[in-house]
Structures are given as structure tokens and as C-alpha cells.
């Protein structure tokens, strides 16, 4: 309704481009192998979209989103793995996972409704660590650091999917989540969330119930994060070890949201592509290009003595550590964040116009805008 035909065309083209990547890869042998890391991008996009609802729309900083992903992964693992009697199918397990995620979101949200800003960030940070520790220590249920495996792969209409099938399935799920996030954003629920972010007191005085709205945001965020966790677990056929769901993941998800643009659904997608793509595509390719594996052989080091040995050692070390761009990722992330904060603090694709002006006619940033513009046209 709100989207112009031009915007629809562009979106469809983008979707088509992303969708044919695996096909192109198969028939055009460039040796890129990006469809696998792209599946990671999809999962992180879901995580980012979930976090965007809590942090971007509602303005509640969550530093523990990885904990919800962990809960999702383990609920999915326990309910599907053959070592336990439940053995649900992929889709019913996914549904259960999202419900469990929402419940966990409620459980964390309810007692922390009154906690704001930095304090909420600390609470969520603590929650992340607690969940990780619980998963490690409840080892009779979660198998501790081994993780639960093997898990069944994703299925669709009874067919097990692998490779490209998974790629397209995950992409489809991202599209559904995007549609859901935009629908919520452009309804009274989303308006309630955004009004709380903008000015909680004013929104209360207008009759918005902040507790209600915040709980919904928490539950939605947690449920999407759990979905992301479950999808990863299914793809890797293992819940992974609890240590995989650490603070780093939460921060990466937050970076995705901030770099893309807080509160912007399109921004989160771009953020996921840039941050995760940088991590698992660009840096990996760079490493291959530079040839980080061509380090001086250990035998050369064994034969050398004195100054020669020292020089050779330094060279080897430098080649191993510095010449491998995969080790640069935190440098690149850090630099990217600092530059973003200086030059474009609102993100790459901000939710609203950055200038002091009205959104343009075909922007369709919101249903109301479009209606407004339509109404105003003679």
C-alpha cells in the first residue's frame, strides 16, 4: 500500500540478485564460495532484526541477545536430537523454539521494566553470562561443552535441505521476518515502541502502556534471536558449545543494528551484509589472496642461528599474525564503528531522512507518510 512501484521493483531486483548467487556460483567457476557465508549473513540478519525491535524501535539497549540465540539453539537441539525422546520435526521445533524464546524474553523483561538505559544494558549483559554458565553447568541436559548433536537438517515439505536448499530457505525466512518487522513498525504496536524511544513520559501521558509495549518488544526480540539460534544449530547439525554464544555475538548483532541504522529494517539487512560479509567473506578472501599460508616453513627456522633466526622468527610471526586479514576483523570493526560515529552516527540507511526536511513522496517510510502525501496531492 505504502510502497511505490519503483521501490517494489528495486526490492524485487535485489531479492533476485541475492537468490541467484548459488546458481551463478555453480555455473560460473570464479571460485568465490560465498553462498555458504551468505547463509551466515541471513542468520545474523534475523538476529539483527530481532535486536532492532528492542534497541532500534523501543530504545532499550540489550547487550545479551546472544543468550536468547543460545536458548533457541538448545531448545531446538533438545527437542529434535535423537539422543532425547522428543524428536520433533524441524518446523514444529522451530515453533517451539520461538515460543520458548518469547517466554525467556518475558522472563527477563518483566522484572527489568523499570530499569533503563545503561542499567538495563548491564542487566542484559549479566543475563547473557548467566545463560552461558547455566548451559555449561547443566551438563546432564545440555551435554556441557560438547554441545548437543547430531541435529536434523532443515526440511521443507518433508524433504531434507542442504546447500542451496538451505540458502533459499533461510533467505525466505529472512524475507518473512522482514515483512513481519515492517508490519509491526507501521502499526500501532510499532508506533507505541517508537514513541517510547522518543519520549517515554510523553507516550505514557498519551495513554501508551509502556510495560505492555516493552514486554512485547522483549518477547519479539527474544523470539527472533531464538529463531536465529535454532537455524544455526540446524545448519551446523549441532547446538555448538555454550561458549559460542558469548558477548562477542551480542556485540556483533549490536554493531549490525548500529552500522545499518538504529530502527531501520533495510539498514539492518545492509548492516548484516557488511559486518558479517566483511568477517566471513572479504577478510577470508583477502587472506587467501595474500597467501597467509605461505609462511616460512618451520624447517628454515630450525636451521637458522642467532640474528638470522631472530629475523626469520619475526618474519614468520608477522606473516602468520599480521598478514592474515582474518585477524584484522576487530581492527576493521572498531575502525568502522569509530568512523561511523564520526561521519554518519544515524547509520548507513537511517530509518528517517537525515536532513531537516520532510520524507520525500515515494519514500514510504511509513504508512502514515504515504497516506499523508496521497491526501495532500491535488
Amino acid at each position: 500500500m505504502a510502497i511505490s512501484s519503483k521501490r517494489i521493483t528495486i526490492n524485487l531486483m535485489l531479492i533476485a540478485v541475492v537468490a541467484i548467487i548459488p546458481v551463478v556460483e555453480k555455473y560460473v567457476p570464479l571460485g568465490w564460495h560465498i553462498s555458504d557465508p551468505m547463509t551466515d549473513v541471513f542468520v545474523y540478519a534475523i538476529l539483527g532484526l530481532g535486536l532492532n525491535i528492542l534497541t532500534g524501535f523501543t530504545g532499550l539497549l540489550n547487550l545479551g541477545v546472544a543468550a536468547f540465540a543460545a536458548i533457541g539453539a538448545y531448545v531446538f537441539a533438545i527437542s529434535t536430537c535423537e539422543i532425547y525422546p522428543f524428536q520433533l520435526g524441524f518446523w514444529s521445533a522451530l515453533g517451539l523454539t520461538m515460543a520458548a524464546g518469547a517466554l525467556a524474553g518475558f522472563a527477563l523483561g518483566a522484572p527489568t521494566l523499570r530499569v533503563r538505559g545503561d542499567y538495563l544494558a548491564i542487566v542484559t549483559l549479566g543475563f547473557g553470562e548467566i545463560v552461558k554458565d547455566v548451559l555449561v553447568n547443566m551438563d546432564s541436559i545440555t551435554k556441557g561443552t560438547q554441545g548437543i548433536n547430531p541435529l536434523p537438517p532443515p526440511t521443507l515439505f518433508g524433504t531434507e535441505l542442504s546447500g542451496n536448499g538451505q540458502y533459499w530457505l533461510f533467505m525466505g525466512i529472512v524475507l518473512v521476518v522482514v515483512a513481519g518487522a515492517r508490519r509491526l513498525e507501521r502499526s500501532r504496536i510499532g508506533r507505541g515502541w517508537i514513541s517510547i524511544r522518543e519520549d517515554e513520559l510523553a507516550s505514557r501521558a498519551m495513554g501508551i502502556r509502556p510495560d505492555h509495549a516493552k514486554m512485547l518488544a522483549f518477547a519479539t526480540c527474544a523470539s527472533l534471536a531464538a529463531l536465529a539460534g535454532a537455524l544455526t544449530a540446524s545448519r551446523l547439525s549441532s547446538s555448538g558449545e555454550p561458549g559460542n554464544y558469548d558477548f562477542q555475538i551480542s556485540i556483533l548483532a549490536l554493531c549490525i543494528v548500529i552500522v545499518g541504522g538504529l530502527g531501520s529494517v533495510r539498514g539492518v539487512l545492509l548492516g548484516a551484509l557488511v559486518m558479517v560479509g566483511m568477517n566471513s567473506i572479504v577478510l577470508v578472501k583477502l587472506t587467501e589472496l595474500i597467501g597467509g599460508s605461505d609462511a616460512a616453513p618451520a624447517s628454515a627456522l630450525a636451521d637458522a642461528h642467532g640474528v638470522q633466526w631472530a629475523l626469520l622468527f619475526i618474519k614468520t610471526w608477522a606473516q602468520n599474525v599480521l598478514m592474515s586479514p582474518t585477524n584484522w576483523k576487530f581492527l576493521v570493526f572498531g575502525l568502522a564503528l569509530v568512523l561511523m560515529m564520526i561521519f554518519r552516527p544515524e547509520g548507513m540507511l537511517p530509518a528517517r531522512g537525515t536532513k531537516e526536511d520532510a520524507p520525500d513522496g515515494d519514500d514510504g517510510a511509513s504508512g502514515a507518510t504515504a497516506v499523508a502525501n496521497k491526501e495532500l496531492r491535488p
Binding site: E82, G180, R188, I194, G207, R352, D357, T369
Partner: protein
């Protein structure tokens, strides 16, 4: 005429500071009522007490003859006990988690064989029994008490919140404009209309026909509110891009969108030039003509004297005078409060 708002003996204390002391006033249905006084007289504090942002230290505030408060209903009671029981269950299962899992799941399940659910449930019960009376019941009791009391504490702290007051029919604007800056004009107004929307979370997500019907009506009505304050031309622009005077009008439109019976305007004419404040006076009269009672705080005497039916004067948190504009204009106490007393040598 009946009193729509009655403030009885309200005292607001912040530690040692007394912002309002035994203030009483009674606003009649359908009138324009002004609260004036020098800076720091406690006018905004009184507004905050009325709208539930503060809880009055003493006294009561009646709206349409009764206090706006959440009552402890049967439903609240049921919810409180449900939360208590849920906490208890979580606590009991959490404390026995490993043993229960081991006994009921791990030891019963043989790979690739149907799982004996009934036996597992029986084991669950026996394991619970075996874990000792106090570990189960004691923890359960602690969980129940914590959950029940926690719910009660939250309920108690929220007996009179701004959202409840707004839903009861009192809307307000703020002295320092508090619009939703990143939202456009229509959305700002739509937030005000939120309480009249019937679509819930799932309806907004799945969008059945009734969602679209409601959205259409809501947008039309939002436009009517914007037209009422003469801002419909800028409907699509962001609130923060509006000039100051327009922002004040948008705040009024947003407050009207809650469809209140009483609207509190906190210094609506602040920072306006004479032409703008004349417009504002017309607007306030039109609001009253819609059947909405208006209470305003204002420093601009032209506005106050021009539109108010009755005026209350506050100084140092106390009410020093009440009456029609004519009475206030000639009241020596008010003149003293504003201008100081004459010193005769």
C-alpha cells in the same frame, strides 16, 4: 454545572521542599480554567500530580467525582496468584532439574525405541517426592511468596500511572515541548489515538481485514485532528522539523487525539508572538466548544485574562487567590505576588 476535576488539599513534598501546600481547587465542566503564579509557584508540579507523574504526598484528586486508581479486582488477584504459582513451579523444577531429567528422560529413553511417557511422568513424581519435603515444598513456597509479593509490589507502585490517567480522559501538553521528534505529524497524532485502537499484536502482524478498516478510520480521524489545529498541510513532515509555534499546536492535536474530557495545557503560549497567541486563544476556545474542559498554566496575561472563566493564583506552592479575571486583576494579594508591595517611606 458539575465539577469535573476536584483537587482537595493536595500537598507535594520532595524531601524538605514543599512544592504544593494544601492546594484545593475545583474545575467545572466546560470551563476554561487558568492556573497562574510566579515562576516556581508549583504550577507544573500540580499538573504532574494531577496526571499521575507524581503521587501527591497528601490530599486527593477527584476526576468526575472519583479518584483515578487501579482497583484490586478479582482479575488482579487471579493474576497475582498465577504469577506466584508460575514462579514456584519454575523454582521447584529449576532446583531439581538435573535429577528430574536424569531420572525421567535419560534413564528411560532407549535409542530408537518409543518413549514410555507414562513411566517417565511417574518417575518425575517419585523423584520430586524423594528429593525431600523441604527442598520441594520449601523452595516452592519461597518461589510462590516471591512471585506473589513481586506482583503485588509492582501493582502497588502503579496504582496511578500517567497512562491510566490518560485513559481515564485527562490529556496534557508539556511546558518544554515533548513531541516524538522522529515521527511525522500523523504518527504523533496516531500515538495519541492508540487507546482507541482495537487491533492487538497479532492483528497488526497478520493484518486481517479489520486491521485495514481500523487503519483507514484512524488515519482519517488523525487528519481531522491535524486540520483542527491547522497543521494538515505538513502532515507528512517530521515533528522536529516544525517551527516552534507549530510544535505547540501539534502537541495540542496529539493531546486531543486521546479524546479527553479534560485537557491540561502547560504554558501553551510560551514563546509566541502576539499574532500567534491570538490564534492560540481562538484555538483554545474551539477546544472548549468541542465540550472539552481546559485547564491551562500561562504567564501571558493577555491570554489568561482574555479566555479564562476562572483563575487560580499560586505562590510558593500555596493558593493565594481564586476568582474571575476581573477579581484577580484587582486583587491586592495577586498584585503583590506579581509586582511586589509598595514600600512607603
Amino acid at each position: 454545572m458539575t465539577a469535573i476535576l476536584e483537587v482537595r488539599n493536595v500537598t507535594m513534598r520532595f524531601g524538605g521542599l514543599v512544592a504544593n501546600e494544601h492546594v484545593s481547587m475545583s474545575v467545572q465542566d466546560g470551563e476554561i480554567f487558568a492556573v497562574i503564579g510566579p515562576n516556581g509557584a508549583g504550577k507544573t508540579t500540580l499538573f504532574n500530580a494531577i496526571t499521575g507523574i507524581y503521587e501527591a504526598t497528601e490530599g486527593e484528586i477527584l476526576f468526575e467525582g472519583k479518584e483515578i486508581r487501579r482497583e484490586w479486582s478479582r482479575r488482579t488477584s487471579v493474576r497475582a496468584y498465577a504469577v506466584g504459582i508460575a514462579t514456584a513451579l519454575v523454582a521447584v523444577f529449576a532446583i531439581n532439574a538435573t535429577a528430574l531429567w536424569q531420572g525421567a528422560i535419560v534413564e528411560k529413553y532407549v535409542y530408537a525405541q518409543p518413549f514410555p511417557w507414562r513411566e517417565a511422568m511417574a518417575t518425575l513424581v517419585t523423584t520430586m517426592r524423594a528429593s525431600g519435603f523441604w527442598t520441594t515444598w520449601g523452595i516452592g513456597l519461597i518461589g510462590f511468596v516471591l512471585g506473589r509479593l513481586g506482583y503485588g509490589a509492582i501493582w502497588r507502585a502503579q496504582r496511578r500511572t500517567p497512562d491510566l490517567v490518560a485513559r481515564a480522559g485527562i490529556a496534557r501538553t508539556f511546558q518544554n515541548i515533548r513531541l516524538f521528534a522522529e515521527m511525522n505529524l500523523v504518527e504523533n497524532v496516531l500515538v495519541g489515538m492508540d487507546q482507541h485502537c482495537r487491533c492487538g499484536y497479532w492483528a497488526c502482524l497478520l493484518r486481517p481485514p479489520r486491521f485495514w478498516r481500523e487503519q483507514a478510520t484512524m488515519h482519517t480521524r488523525a487528519f481531522e485532528f491535524l486540520k483542527f489545529v491547522e497543521l494538515a498541510d505538513a502532515a507528512g513532515s517530521l515533528a522536529r522539523s516544525l517551527p516552534y509555534g507549530h510544535q505547540r499546536r501539534l502537541e495540542i492535536a496529539r493531546a486531543l487525539a486521546t479524546e479527553p474530557k479534560l485537557i491540561l495545557l502547560d504554558e501553551p503560549a510560551a514563546g509566541m508572538n502576539p499574532a500567534e497567541s491570538a490564534d492560540l486563544m481562538r484555538l483554545i476556545r474551539r477546544i472548549r466548544d468541542r465540550g472539552i474542559t481546559v485547564v491551562l498554566i500561562e504567564h501571558d496575561m493577555k491570554v489568561v485574562m482574555g479566555i479564562s472563566d476562572r483563575i487560580v493564583v499560586l505562590q510558593h506552592g500555596k493558593k493565594i487567590a481564586e476568582g474571575t479575571p476581573e477579581e484577580i486583576r484587582t486583587n491586592p494579594v495577586c498584585i503583590a505576588a506579581y509586582l511586589g508591595t509598595e514600600v512607603v517611606n
